[in-house]
Symmetry: C2
Amino acid sequence: MRVEIIAVGTELLLGEIANTDAQDVSAGLAELGFSTLYHTVVGDNPDRLRSVLACALERADILITTGGLGPTYDDLTKEICAEAFGLPLELHQPSLDRIVARFAAMERPMTPNNEKQAWLPRGCTVFPNDWGTAPGCAIERGGKYLLMLPGPPRECRPMFRHCAMPYLAALSGSAIHSDWIRLFGIGESAMEDRLRPLMESSVNPSLAPYAKEGECLVRVTSRAASDAEAAAQNAPYVRAVCDLLSDFVYGVNVSSLEQVAVARLRETGRTLACAESCTGGLLAKRITDVPGASAVFLGSAVTYANSAKTRLLGVSPDTLAAHGAVSAETASEMAAGARSLYGSDYALATTGIAGPASDNTAKPVGLVYIALATPDGVTVREHHFTGDRARIRHAAASNALDMLRRALI
Amino acid sequence: MRVEIIAVGTELLLGEIANTDAQDVSAGLAELGFSTLYHTVVGDNPDRLRSVLACALERADILITTGGLGPTYDDLTKEICAEAFGLPLELHQPSLDRIVARFAAMERPMTPNNEKQAWLPRGCTVFPNDWGTAPGCAIERGGKYLLMLPGPPRECRPMFRHCAMPYLAALSGSAIHSDWIRLFGIGESAMEDRLRPLMESSVNPSLAPYAKEGECLVRVTSRAASDAEAAAQNAPYVRAVCDLLSDFVYGVNVSSLEQVAVARLRETGRTLACAESCTGGLLAKRITDVPGASAVFLGSAVTYANSAKTRLLGVSPDTLAAHGAVSAETASEMAAGARSLYGSDYALATTGIAGPASDNTAKPVGLVYIALATPDGVTVREHHFTGDRARIRHAAASNALDMLRRALI
């Protein structure tokens, strides 16, 4: 079925925020096998919203709106959409009860305009809002479907996943199950080359490759009568993808390299410290983005100045003089120094030139050394990254995490 | 004049990326005083793009497309747009020369399909691409304007700023100058309250307030015959805004708190070190995001474990036992310890509970202590932040940077 996503909100037209709701909803629709043909953004303006809806009803079977469900006078999505489908709004008591309870729980007074959010189109399917106040809903007429979701991404995303996706899957008479296989260290085209025979021979599940921030991922999506059946249908394909790309797979249904690295440390009961020059705290930041990292992560010595490399980590001034701060020798001494400074089992060190300028030596921007100290000794790798400062730093941190993860297998 | 932004690219409809081009272009149009009425996203499909263009020509005066200018067969924006305006494509030799030179500079072979990018609509205004290969362009017919920009954000954003904005300003027969005033430590509604009289009494320049990631900013935009005149017209209003909000303004036309903090350190010839617990490297990461930070930033001791706080920073085990890691006393000893460990003039320390869980004490998630050690002693502040882990960590780092900045005034 053809889908159009309509975002309602003047803040989008002023460039105050990006339309991430359309991205989130589109990604979910792709998993379900629906074709999103258009995104439209319109302001909080009744006439223009009416004409956008009329146009969308011509060219799509399913309309999904985001935004405009709130309590204020310029929140008018529900009113205009119900009118387009010829439905009156009615007070939906369970939704009102939820809103009242939510305000009570937050110990904030509920102003009368909040009741507006509980008025919903007659006969709609209600999507309860566990993440905010305004409920969403779905209406149908003459084979056309219209789903309304709230605008704030932290409400839109979970309501779409938990309420709208099952509703849409039911429309297509089936359940959907997706698994995500995450890879590091392989490029997008090399990944696609290896996967092509499997991708071409498989329709259900479908296999979709993605590339993002220096990593790759593969989505495997099955459609079946129940979620359990769809999951079972996925399983052999997930195994096949993992076998084909075994050198690069770091996890199935995990969220990041740092999450996997922290989990491996916890499983093996090992601790980690870091010594960072070019990543300047980014490596520690990514590790401590993971809740619970404190169980295994002792800390990181960010040593930007050479004096700090010597004072904190015991890097020899002779090494710095002979090889420079950006060298395999310095990286190696940094890792060993961090391991002994923090008393950790493992230590990662980074030193390199993130740019935009070089360090007054002949060394090129993008040259990065990454060292890993373990109870058995120190290993160093030389890398040449491309891109701007942010990209080089991100690549350095990702490669450090991957080096640790591999050592923990 | 009414504007519609049309993004062309199937990757947007699959949810692989968000439409940040539309956000960037919309923000610039708001500065210019143009009204963006619609955003549309359509895939790489000739018939659907044709119908989207036809619809946009009905409801807008200026169409701005992003994407679809590249070398491959599915890049068809230029072909379809030129057709809609009844213009043939012609080889634009200066653009071809640029593309050839670019490939030569990158030492990469230029495949024949790249020539396609140098074919432009007859009589168009060319926007040279200094950030990639595909040039943009503008065409006009019967009072309707169509501007085409490349899709990759790192090309779209600068081409819009440097080529399209001056073209659009000229359409309105005037030059535009914007100044940005950045504030920290005041909420959006308090800022608007103070600014309202000035905002309401001023039409040219216009004043627009924004809130983003815990900070506020005010845009002051003048329209005049030349950029110099517009800038002069802005100046007294910029001063007035700074006077009204003097407690909170940290810079005019600067990019971030970290940029200002690093600049102040450079101006005063002082050095900085950090000691981070709850920010876990984020504070150092933000400081080292600023190119040239190495001149003043010595490093950061990320001490997640209590043992590391003692080993690296000399925090007394008695202090940790009596007051806990999240306390004013520990923050204070961390800052003093970092200052002496790195031998820096200033040192910032953070310790707090970023969540999602508390630290097995009665202390609430969001409680953060920030300490600043200077040659004159140590100051500590207690904060109570709300939101999730990422937001609490970001707020802690921002407040630390602001504390340093104020101390350096």
